[in-house]
């Protein structure tokens, strides 16, 4: 019998491309024989924009990279500039930064996990994580007045101190998180259909993960124990006690599990940070005009999606000469074309979702 391969455009408008991502897949019946990623639908030229903005002015733009993890993006950027200028950050600000970055990690993983399970067809499983995430957003908006784009970190510290009612609310949230995660495990993790759909699907081997330069939960699911917080501790992460979850098989289930466990670990870190949170100012001594000395710096942090790096070249003027963003989603997405081969359409969607990309970051 003569059969014909068909080419299907997944995206840029499709319910599960997580934004404006286009994947052209070739199908032999239900099985994908290959695919090509087409990016750039959300390319805003942030790197070029940065060249005509002053250093503090670029902070709000970093919000728009991975818009599910604006706090972490802020943190990566301001730490890079601080490193370039040698600015000291007050202790209290350092602790608060950790608290916010970890809260942001939980919020981002909530969306990552929720949308992943939704792409497997369980619609209810996306509502519960969003309800939990809402509580984090409440904490954020209480502190900095924004729910999505926070613009909270400043070069040398933070824009505001936390309000009085923040810490009790945060404690409440951390206690709530335990039941929330348990419930989610009850709903999703043990479900036989879910297991059948995810176990052994879209395997990224250790070698493949390393060669494709994956980072974040994706690489840790493939048996590589690499977490920037441990490997190259930034800020005050060396003071905290936490585990880095590593799974061996590198399938979609492991990528899901890494995120679930990471949320628990983040809760641990936040609890330690609250315990040690010192009093004091939240903004250090920073010159009025941010004018880093000529030179260059590269700095990267562990973002929820992977390793976010900023490369800044300064010529001594108040505007960066060149600013490059190493976007984890962009690099992580590179492996997709390779790993979808031989999987069904339904799995292609699951694999894409399990990589947990955000198009704002992929396209930069």
């Amino acid at each position: 019998m003569r059969t014909q391969e068909i080419t299907v455009n997944l995206g840029p408008q499709h319910p599960s491309t997580h934004g404006v991502f286009r994947l052209v897949i070739h199908l032999d019946g239900e099985v994908a024989t290959g695919g090509t990623s087409v990016l750039g639908y959300l390319h805003r030229g942030l790197e070029k924009l940065a060249e005509s903005r002053t250093y503090p002015q670029f902070i709000p733009y970093t919000d728009r990279l991975d818009y599910l993890a604006s706090m972490s993006n802020n943190l990566a950027y301001v730490q890079t500039v601080e490193k370039l200028m040698g600015i000291e950050v007050p202790e209290r600000a350092e602790y608060l930064r950790v608290i916010f970055a970890e809260l942001q990690r939980i919020a981002s993983h909530m969306v990552g996990v929720g949308t992943f399970v939704m792409d497997l067809g369980a619609v209810t499983a996306v509502f519960y994580p969003f309800i939990h995430r809402e509580k984090i957003l409440d904490l954020f908006s209480m502190t900095c007045g924004g729910r999505l784009t926070y613009n909270y970190m400043r070069i040398g510290g933070l824009s505001h101190d936390i309000p009085e009612e923040f810490l009790p609310k945060l404690q409440e949230f951390l206690d709530y998180m335990r039941t929330a995660l348990e419930e989610y495990h009850q709903l999703v993790t043990g479900n036989e259909i879910f297991l059948a759909r995810t176990k052994g699907v879209g395997v990224i081997t250790k070698e493949m993960a390393m060669s494709y330069g994956l980072s974040g939960p994706n690489v840790r699911a493939s048996g590589v124990c690499y977490d920037v917080r441990k490997a190259h501790p930034y800020g005050i992460y060396d003071r905290f006690n936490f585990n880095v979850p590593v799974f061996e098989s590198g399938d979609t289930f492991d990528r899901y599990m890494v995120r679930m466990i990471e949320m628990e670990e983040s809760v641990k870190i936040i609890r330690q940070a609250i315990k040690d949170l010192p009093e004091g100012p939240v903004l250090g001594k920073v010159p009025k005009l941010i004018k880093p000395p000529a030179g260059e710096v590269y700095h990267s942090i562990e973002n929820p999606k992977g390793e976010l790096g900023f490369y800044i070249v300064s010529d001594g003027s108040p505007k960066p000469y060149r600013l490059h963003i190493r976007r984890p989603s962009f690099v992580n997405l590179g492996v997709l074309e390779e790993i979808i081969k031989g999987w069904k359409v339904a799995d292609v969607i699951a694999i894409l979702a399990s990589l947990d990309i955000v198009l704002g970051e992929v396209d930069g």
């Binding site: 503090p56 919000d63 924004g146 784009t149 613009n151 419930e183 709903l187 036989e192």
Partner: protein
């Protein structure tokens, strides 16, 4: 046992089916807006010293500030306009203001029917200012008519 995960899931959703709903009934129930909420902008025009700090702080250049000088060589404001269309609502202008005369309001219903209405004319004194922008004229006309 095989199938227990499925049953557990069903048990959870049934529990949720009977638990309290969390939806805010928006137009009737107003949401709680935090005190630090970055909503619309508000200008205390008498306190403004026309130092242009906010204009310089804005990453997108959405603020237009026009001023004149009186007989004592003191600056006074003639026009202050924020093009909210391209505003990032980052708050750098509010932070930059040395007199704290630019503030965020807790207003959050900022959608408008017409594109021109998105622009925020915070202050405009037509008698004092040089030829005003098209936008300013339009709002004037609207108010008169």
């Amino acid at each position: 046992m095989y199938g227990s995960g499925v049953v557990k899931g069903l048990a959870l959703t049934l529990k949720k089916f009977f638990s309290k709903k969390i939806t805010e009934q928006y137009p009737e129930e107003r949401p709680f807006i935090d005190h630090r909420w970055r909503g619309s902008l508000q200008l205390d025009k008498d306190a403004c010293i026309c130092c242009n700090m906010c204009v310089n702080a804005c990453p997108n250049g959405v603020i237009t500030l026009e001023s004149g000088k009186d007989e004592n060589n003191k600056r006074f404001l003639t026009r202050y306009e924020v093009n909210f269309e391209r505003c990032l609502v980052c708050g750098l202008c509010v932070e930059a203001c040395p007199k704290q005369c630019l503030k965020f309001t807790r207003e959050y219903e900022l959608a408008t029917y017409f594109r021109d209405d998105v622009k925020l004319g915070l202050y405009h004194n037509p008698k004092l200012s040089a030829p005003s922008s098209t936008y300013a004229q339009k709002t004037e006309q609207k108010k008169e008519g």
